[in-house]
Symmetry: C2
Subunit: 225 residues, 2 copies
């Protein structure tokens, strides 16, 4: 649940650009580090130096959610950390399942940061007989056929798709028909948005292409020196 401030702010439905939303997890990560290190207060300038963004961007971003800061006093780290967590919905536990227990699915199942953020892996499924019943991070891989029954017994918030490309649309349909409203898709095809379903498509090669761009720039700067 949002706290009362959060509800009021979001209730206004001031449109928050997706680019701002996408920066919130990063603020959250940095604040989590500061909080762990017992830092009580931080200026937007200090935070900006740590994060490598401008102080004005930080102020602008946080203003979408009411600001949180007092001019000249900086931000209260714990407060801001909790508020951004609440905005992101990290103050409630989300149950997830993974469909596709190949290397990527198993890597995701073993990822420790998810639980820390309130995401709990409830099940992992595959069609491959050599994978079924194998244990990954304390969970036995289940037959994909038992998915529907499992979800009836265990409400699931988020379905993670780490299945081959050509199976992605049908697995997504299946998850949605079982009542899952949030899909985290790792196949290199964008699942299309539809009413009442939210999706995050992860394109690993986009990040690699960005790196290639940076490397190109670096090399061309070298040549120009």
């Amino acid at each position: 649940m949002y706290n009362s401030n959060g509800v009021r702010r979001l209730g206004n439905k001031r449109k928050v650009p997706l680019t701002v939303i996408k920066r919130l997890p990063r603020y959250y990560r940095y604040l989590s580090e500061l909080f762990k290190n017992d830092i009580g207060r931080i200026s937007s300038k200090e935070l900006s130096q740590r994060m490598g963004v401008t102080a004005s961007q930080i102020r602008q971003d946080l203003n979408f959610f009411g600001g949180f800061g007092q001019q000249g006093y900086g931000y209260n780290v714990e407060y801001l950390y909790n508020e951004i967590g609440a905005i992101l919905g990290l103050n409630k536990t989300r149950k997830m399942i993974i469909v596709g227990a190949g290397n990527l699915g198993q890597a995701l199942a073993n990822y420790k940061n998810f639980r820390k953020r309130g995401f709990e892996l409830a099940g992992i499924f595959d069609v491959r007989e050599d994978l079924i019943d194998k244990e990954v991070n304390g969970l036995k891989i289940q037959d994909f056929k038992s998915l529907e029954g499992f979800i009836k017994e265990n409400p699931v918030d988020i379905g993670i798709l780490s299945v081959p490309h050509d199976q992605t649309p049908s697995v997504a349909e299946k998850l949605v028909s079982c009542g899952i409203k949030a899909l985290w898709n790792f196949s290199p095809m964008d699942l299309k948005l539809r009413q009442g379903i939210v999706i995050e498509n992860v394109h690993l090669s986009d990040s690699l292409m960005t790196l290639a761009y940076k490397l190109n720039r670096l090399e061309s700067d070298d040549i120009n020196c």
Copy 2:
């Protein structure tokens, strides 16, 4: 190498915001689909509808690189596809190695899209004896001890780090000391930028937190209905 247009444009060193750069791979993916489907020309309006961004953003973004479009005629798909590819440096082959051959490293080694974009996996390394000599996607996992010798014989552009959190800084140091200038880091700690090195830190949980935010919004909209 950039084509001559690319060199001239980038030679101007007009500062391209990182947010724009980060959108280029997405343009590239969409254009690649259009090109494969023999679509010769597309208006910014059509492209914007497919991509779910505004036409004005597309025009703004592409203007950083000289535009490519003619008013009223739309974009030449093949030309734009090749130009963005050249800007991203995808017209040259980049050699990569993976350090850390656990589930994630193996998943990355098996990822088919990288080669399609001109990234070639040259080697995969680990310290774990039970993994060394295992074959992944046609490559034998090598002992991390042989990394330095390998790089001397086989120039490497990009080092992919899929090692545990606490080993990330030392492995990064090692790769840099061997002359690798681009690091793609999958551990949940940001490697810091330094002179002459480019880095992309992948934070999978950022994407998951964004999904949690969207799910929260969806649910609060439901409640408000």
